[in-house]
Symmetry: C2
Subunit: 676 residues, 2 copies
Amino acid sequence: MKHFLSVVFLFISLTITQAQFQKDYPYRGVPFTKVKLDDKFWLPKLEINRTVTIPWSFQKSKETGRIKNFEQAVARKGKFCTIYPFDDSDIYKIIEGASYSLHVKYDAKLDTYIDSLITLIGKAQEPDGYLYTIRTMGDTTHSWIGKVRYEKEHELSHELYNMGHFYEAAAAHYLATNKRNMLDIAIKNADHLLTVFGPGKKAVAPGHQVIEIGLGKLYRVTGNQKYLDLSKFFIDCRGQRKYEKKTGDKEATVWQTGAYWQDNIPVTQQTEALGHSVRAGYLYAGMADVAAMTNNLEYLSALNKIWDNAFGKKTYITGGLGQAGNWEGFGPDYELSNHSAYCETCAAISSVYWNHRMFMAYGDSKYIDILERTLYNGLISGIGLDGKTFNYENPMEYNFQQGKLSGENKRSPWFGCSCCPTNICRLMPSIPGYVYAQKDNAVYINLFMSNTTTLEVMPKENVSFSQNTEYPWNGVVTVGVEPANKKGLKFPLMVRIPGWARGEAFPTDLYRYTSTNSMGLPKISINGQTFEYKLENGYAVIDRAWKKGDKLTMNLPMEVKQVVANEKVKDNIGKIAIERGPLVYCAEYVDNNGLTSNLVVPENQTFQAEFQTDMLNGVMTLKGTANALNIENNASVSTKTQPLILIPYYARSNRGSGEMRVWFPTRIKNLEIITE
Amino acid sequence: MKHFLSVVFLFISLTITQAQFQKDYPYRGVPFTKVKLDDKFWLPKLEINRTVTIPWSFQKSKETGRIKNFEQAVARKGKFCTIYPFDDSDIYKIIEGASYSLHVKYDAKLDTYIDSLITLIGKAQEPDGYLYTIRTMGDTTHSWIGKVRYEKEHELSHELYNMGHFYEAAAAHYLATNKRNMLDIAIKNADHLLTVFGPGKKAVAPGHQVIEIGLGKLYRVTGNQKYLDLSKFFIDCRGQRKYEKKTGDKEATVWQTGAYWQDNIPVTQQTEALGHSVRAGYLYAGMADVAAMTNNLEYLSALNKIWDNAFGKKTYITGGLGQAGNWEGFGPDYELSNHSAYCETCAAISSVYWNHRMFMAYGDSKYIDILERTLYNGLISGIGLDGKTFNYENPMEYNFQQGKLSGENKRSPWFGCSCCPTNICRLMPSIPGYVYAQKDNAVYINLFMSNTTTLEVMPKENVSFSQNTEYPWNGVVTVGVEPANKKGLKFPLMVRIPGWARGEAFPTDLYRYTSTNSMGLPKISINGQTFEYKLENGYAVIDRAWKKGDKLTMNLPMEVKQVVANEKVKDNIGKIAIERGPLVYCAEYVDNNGLTSNLVVPENQTFQAEFQTDMLNGVMTLKGTANALNIENNASVSTKTQPLILIPYYARSNRGSGEMRVWFPTRIKNLEIITE
């Protein structure tokens, strides 16, 4: 393994990364536990998660045998009840979400139920700390992995993946409840891992990452450096897989090379986002943690290159990652098929994790631009408005072809592999944790939602903040700033000016608006007086002496914009997408005469924004005009003008199955006749 | 190796194949050397082959370094001048074609030139008989095979492939000229192979078949049984390749399994047409030869199954084989994409070889139905009317997409891998050899073209036949029968009634006509009197005492027919193709307002056949009406009626590059908008 670069390369890395960390990220997120939401957009979604999604997921876990798996592991016998050996992790992820929820709103019944599960899990743990129900119940019937003890088949084994999620859940449960029952199981397992893995012991690249993040969290909670070291050890194990060309191999597949699970080359030499997107996102987030906590500039240098590749060439406009369904992962540069876009909900979640960490490393708002785009579009599109139906895939369109509607066009109440629903369980309550951040005496506002928080600002002064906004429907954001100290406090408030509000659709050249920002930079006023701000890394710097009652008002221009993709994206040549604020819009069959594949939207088409309270729990719709192809008697074709109604992409697929699309042709160069 | 089946299975095979051979095929083709063409359709094509294609191919071989390779092999040094180690075989194939031509029309200059090449080749042969210029010149620079001596990389090596073509050429040259100079080189090489390969010696599945056919021909010419045994040995070597699943292999590729070169399972266990189509066709033809000459019923049983699969599920309407361009070969059952159809010209030639042999084994006209369909459509479409431009691929359509015309839409004067042009060189002069066949005292007429021949009919009586027809443009065929014996001769004349003339578009359920044959079976009259014939295996049995001056007249109904594909062929649901007689028709851009992808042909559309003497060297065109999609200003779409002009598929791509198609939508269920 090559852990260390030469001095020359280290020097280059330094200039590239421009960062020097002392044991942690320089920019610290403000945990969700400190931020009290009072937001019309987000609060109902978090409440549905707490009151519907989490109970629903516990119920489904029970129904499908995920809990019985633990009971059988306790009995040390039985036949594995579910499909995937990593199904244990669903329980862990729901517990993580439920723990967050407990903190937000205490629920004794839920607390007791969680404790009962933890007791069960504890009994399923083997005496040495090992925890993996499929093995412990002694079941040898499972067809594709069987009884394993540590990574017999690298890309398939999820022994360590399960544990990564367990540590995350244990840390959350401990922080939320102050109870150690789950944490102790985690520590016992991690201490066992330390006896198995490490320099001079077993060296393995875990089959599905997340143990790296989990160990980082365990380190933060316990302060035990060994957990962090083990995280780094696992990361550095990657890249040992040798691909040997066999007779007949035309080119190596992502499986053959190990790229599927990012095991093709050492992480510090990786420059591209490759393979399974969720694995990749978790790896990059884990690397960022280790980099921050150990000042590893090699990791950061690699992460920068990978990020440029992922978000410069391989991201859908919704923030969705994963172009290739057959390996649930990254495809070639600029190959962004709308039709077959995979964009797994879990990959969106992993992108939020990764981008938040990149922000915490660099303080650049471009990472939050991606985070916000992902959160408001490709991520929450994974959950139905009812809180108990889900999409695993989040493609850019559904089309009728050969009499069938393409893709995963219906939300499901659960999946055989139900990683996405349970990932939603834990992601939703954590959203308030992405709103604020701090560095030195500066306070960062990254996201816009109505909330209140009180932060300790250097030097040790409490300052309360109250955000008020109807974002994303309305661009006016007011922030009340109340230093506890009556004399007030001078500190820089760094208010993110979203890329989209600066006329920049995307932080790379992958997408751009067709028109410039008509009103220039958003206006900010303090107590009614215009404040001429300086822009730094995408943040308005409001460095002043704040006094009780101060009120900042920002007006983000909610214009409807047309977006075009980089011309290297073949699928989007001659097409536009429509955005308003942070939201990507789509057309659904139900609002557009039953079809959307027949719509042509001329360039410069204008739209009227109209809020519909009675539609999709209240959404801002956009109304314009399209030319629609009309087929009569399966024989004659004409074009006619018809109203075009767009809804936010996240709200798609809540009114039955039918055509949907994000990218609209602006012209018809040719037509392909479909006969079935 | 399992050469022998159990008694039980042998018994089953017997009933399946219903054949018992004595040292050769029961049905014997009449060699082209005995058939003198006088046909308006074929003779000009054979003449162009003799006067243009063959000289052109010799010239191109010289220009590209194919001959220099031999000069360097003679010198035992140098750098291989061309791209592929099998480029030697091009010379051999042209010599084969040129030898046939010499026989048809003697040309002293050509004879001398061929002799000079044979001398050169003889000097390039190594002392022990080995012959492979890339190795003998000592060149080690070639990147993908280098210096080999027998099959280092099974699927790539063409050492034995080159020799197979050499034997074929040597046999042809010997038969055409009675000179032994080329044959002696072949025998020297084959005798060398006998010291290397065989039971107890080296056992190898040749990387590209044809050696099997070549050894069969050498056996016929020399009577040396060992050559036939070696052919069988090579065939039985197949199926030894073991596929070992590697971590990450989702499914085995045709390369990994060896299916690419039909090495995945023993030939007697093969049931599907798999892998590279040319390799496959040559293998099956070679197996049929060995089966016929050794009465191998296991081979025949396998060939029947493979044939059913190939022509029941994997053949284009033009007779084209090979759905998958990336391995130039067979794809999955019923996956017959029009757009990406590969249909290599060489694969069509290998299909002619195979089907002719299947006919010779069984005497069933269904094999000739495939042979005729292939010959008149997918095969001769590979050569331009000028005789010196070629298509390697023969797809079902060319479409404009993303501003580009799909596929290999332009004929080329030569190719880096120029197997198809040189295969055309040798196939064309051999065509008269597919017209007649004999079994016992029966004479078979398989193809219809103006010609004369004199055959020895049992018991040793000469009978002359003179066919007169304007086929394929006109369905009237007259056959003059003249027994030399003034008393006449009783013998069955078996006249093939083509499947298409019996209302059967295809011998399997892969394609069918939309309408029944309005006039019933074709009428046959003898000397003006209707002859009520019995149909046997697709042949009209005219068993009578023939007398000098007897004249048989058959009238094949040249109706224009619509064809539909089996509904399992997804690409052709809701589409029709148009045929007349043995010809498949297509629409080309040049006759149809510049496009063909915009045409809809309603069911039951009628067509007028009209012969155009000034077009494409004279072709029967079909005129009908189509609904054409019309796009104005890249914005509005309408449908209008316009004339539809069809030409025979074989004549496509002789008037520049543009859209072309064989299958026409009959309805518009949906439209895909193409923006670029």
